[in-house]
């Protein structure tokens, strides 16, 4: 399918996330019921708008548009006031409605503009047209796109911008033991960072999977520890250290299918005894050191 249809559905998604207040024109031009139609005509022309909400003592009582003005002109009733020609049945939107709701209201009613009110007070806070919605969506599309582009641009130039015989970037993540809710978040952030540094997706994938397995081990079996990643020009090295119970038999731990995981861990889809063997399989080099009751220190590298 085309990129255009992709963008179109991305717009639909944005329409669910964005709120009416983000797209509307705040503090719109308003008129009173006693405002003469001649004055309305000047307002529409000077402010380049096609309609205005009608307020009486701060309350929204109607809406008057360029169509009402044209009808008046055709009938030669130029001397009347807004109050006698405005539509009294006003459809409104709430400021916190999602934009998609506004779009469907426009489709259903066929109006060019809808006043926006505050949900709690009912006070008029803005006005919304289809043009406003389009502008808002396009702006948000551009912002989303540029943010990731900038991240990528900035990070991927580190290796070229720094003048040195060799360069490596290091970053650290703290893994909290037993915190299943956040388990995986360190690897996830590491993965995003590696992609931003411009590493090949294939290398990033191998580092990410291996790191994720290691992170899960820390969450499941240890009180926590650190993930240190060192990205050089030729390789990524990840060192994972914990203050945990240690591994009694490293050879056994590296045997596919060997596991000491309790049932609740298995119920979550982990603890099948494939973690360390997976890491070994994915990495170009791996070193594992452990002392019972003290620590486990795992280091693996992936060539770029």
């Amino acid at each position: 399918m085309t990129n255009l249809s992709k963008e179109a559905t991305k717009l639909q998604e944005l329409a669910y996330e964005l709120k009416v207040e983000q797209a509307m024109t705040p503090d719109p031009v308003t008129v009173a019921p006693r405002t003469p139609m001649t004055r309305l005509r000047e307002l529409l022309r000077d402010r380049r708008i096609s309609g205005a909400p009608v307020l009486s003592r701060g309350k929204l009582v109607g809406i008057v548009t360029i169509e009402d003005l044209i009808k008046c002109l055709m009938k030669g009733r130029t001397g009347v006031a807004v109050g006698s020609v405005m539509s009294q049945e006003v459809h409104t939107l709430c400021a916190d409605d999602p934009l998609v709701h506004a779009v469907s209201r426009f489709q259903e009613l066929g109006f060019g503009r809808l006043p926006v009110v505050d949900r709690a007070s009912g006070r008029l806070v803005g006005i919304l047209t289809m043009g406003d919605i389009l502008r808002c969506l396009l702006k948000q599309l551009e912002v989303d796109y540029r943010e990731e582009e900038i991240h990528r641009y900035r990070a991927s130039h580190i290796f070229e911008d720094i003048l040195a015989d060799d360069i490596a970037v290091s970053f650290r993540y703290q893994v909290v033991g037993g915190d299943f809710h956040r388990a995986g978040s360190c690897s996830s952030r590491l993965r995003t960072s590696l992609l931003r540094l411009g590493l090949s997706p294939e290398a990033v994938r191998r580092v990410a999977i291996a790191t994720y397995e290691a992170e899960m081990n820390l969450v499941i079996y240890t009180p926590g520890g650190t993930l240190d990643a060192r990205v050089g020009k030729e390789r990524v090295v990840v060192r994972v250290r914990d203050g945990g119970p240690g591994i009694p038999d490293i050879e056994k731990a590296l045997t596919p299918g060997f596991s000491t995981a309790p049932d609740w861990v298995r119920a979550m889809g982990f603890g099948a005894g494939m973690g360390l063997p997976n890491i070994k399989e994915l990495a170009d080099e791996m070193r594992l050191d452990s002392k019972i009751g003290e620590f486990t220190d795992l280091e693996f590298g992936v060539c770029l």
């Binding site: 399918m1 249809s5 992709k6 559905t9 991305k10 639909q12 998604e13 299943f180 809710h181 388990a183 995986g184 978040s185 690897s187 996830s188 993965r191 997706p201 294939e202 994938r205 191998r206 990410a208 999977i209 790191t211 994720y212 397995e213 899960m216 979550m268 889809g269 982990f270 099948a272 005894g273 494939m274 973690g275 997976n278 399989e281 994915l282 170009d284 060539c303």
Partner: protein, 129 residues
């Protein structure tokens, strides 16, 4: 096979990532064991799973999985949907059980992860140049 077709075959609803529903999927796999996902899944694939934890989404992200379909009518928690949305992963849900879901996709011609041509997607360790 693209995700639109997969969605039809599984009679699934889309939970997030509707904008990416026209993506081409290279192969598929079904697993409740996350280690199996990490060891076996290819990039550009769809994962069918009965697990609905946050970790399924993280696991998919690490493996380069493009879409997850939860089977047997299970729904993931809102945090999992949020995470998937942020990471650009499509989430779907079907009432069909795992076996039937996999069967329908396989019958319709979607390949398994061990059947995709080598070199296109397999991680394959690259040795020092």
């Amino acid at each position: 096979m693209n995700l639109i077709k997969i969605r039809q075959l599984l009679e699934a609803s889309v939970l997030c990532g509707a904008e990416s529903i026209d993506q081409e999927i290279q192969c598929g796999g079904g697993a409740d064991l996350m280690s199996d996902v990490l060891a076996l899944m290819e990039p550009n694939s769809i994962l069918l799973s009965g697990l609905t934890t946050l970790q399924v989404v993280y696991t998919a992200e690490m493996s380069g999985v493009m879409a997850i379909c939860f089977v047997r009518g299970k729904r993931p928690p809102p945090e999992a949907i949020e995470l998937a949305r942020a990471r650009g992963i499509v989430l779907m849900a079907t009432r069909l059980p795992m076996f039937e879901s996999c069967g329908r996709l396989y019958k319709a011609g979607l390949k398994g992860s061990s059947e995709v041509p080598p070199g296109t997607a397999r991680p394959g360790k690259r040795r020092h140049p």
